[in-house]
Symmetry: C2
Subunit: 188 residues, 2 copies
Amino acid sequence: MQHTGAAPRTDTRKRVQQVALELFAEQGYEKTSLREIAERLGVTKAALYYHFRSKEDIVHSFTDDHNARLDALIDWAKNQPPGTGTRREILSRYVSTVLAGADVFRFIEQNRAAVQSLEGGKERFKLFRSRLDALVELLTGPDAPLRDHVRTTAALFATSAAIHVAGANADQDELHAIALEIAIDLVG
Amino acid sequence: MQHTGAAPRTDTRKRVQQVALELFAEQGYEKTSLREIAERLGVTKAALYYHFRSKEDIVHSFTDDHNARLDALIDWAKNQPPGTGTRREILSRYVSTVLAGADVFRFIEQNRAAVQSLEGGKERFKLFRSRLDALVELLTGPDAPLRDHVRTTAALFATSAAIHVAGANADQDELHAIALEIAIDLVG
DNA sequence: GTCTATAGACGGATAGAC
DNA sequence: GTCTATCCGTCTATAGAC
């Protein structure tokens, strides 16, 4: 019941995303050409253009989700009553969100300038920096002193540290616990 | 006693470095062309090639110092007796070193993938990541548990947070105090 | 859905005059 | 020390056959 010839390869789109994410994080977005991605997949550049309209479009295909989750978290946080409990819940959700998209997050951190140029040019999204600053603002309240801003930013950076240290194999729950503990240590 | 005509412009090399550092950090290394740098300075591309052998050479002209300082810190740290006092001294020197080269540091963070490609290709330096990991190793000791690695990495990231939050105007001493306080909170 | 072929633009780098 | 002019490579993206 099996036909001869090459398989239909209906999952090419996802394979492109996987390879692109890997190469972009490793070598950088600009330095990675579509030719290189195509070669690694055993297809041609033109094939990529069947699945994606442009190189930027590949990036958006895996950053859209991640950005939407962060925006949802920010919106949710805005409508919560201030207090220690809320603050810890925000931190916990932030850690979970970032860890869940660790691959995408790694890519963004390795290519901050490039990603900001993409998103900034089209005004399609708030910048990565704006999102982080928005969360810091919500966690500290307005007119907080410099020390609070830095400590809260460092609290969020703790998840970056966890991703930086962890290999692909690490236990998500353990990383969550470690990152959250640090964050709470810093924002009190 | 003043002559007519254009000034000799003997400081072009430094002006190139300033503009390049600014544009690289803002738009990204790859996206910034030599044409753009030259235009902003009111000279031509060819003029840049009198002062620098290549685009990469411009980068090295301001990362060499910064990397050398970090390597010196690592070497010094290797020869210190272990203990709380040494650990805090390492952290303090790290914060000072990074804050002193904040502009360069910002550039590196905005272009991690691009910078690693440059340095990795020539094996001229240890990678940025290697340097950070080396310091973490010295601060935690060998075979430390995951939690210690993450906390120590987060301690070093605190300086990144300080730079991220601070504008160009911020008080260096205040930032130093804040970043060091966080680092000590995390490594105990 | 994938291919070949190519357009069209732009980048880094060099040669040589002034 | 800066200029004009140009070479050559690579890249993104498209047209059109299969």
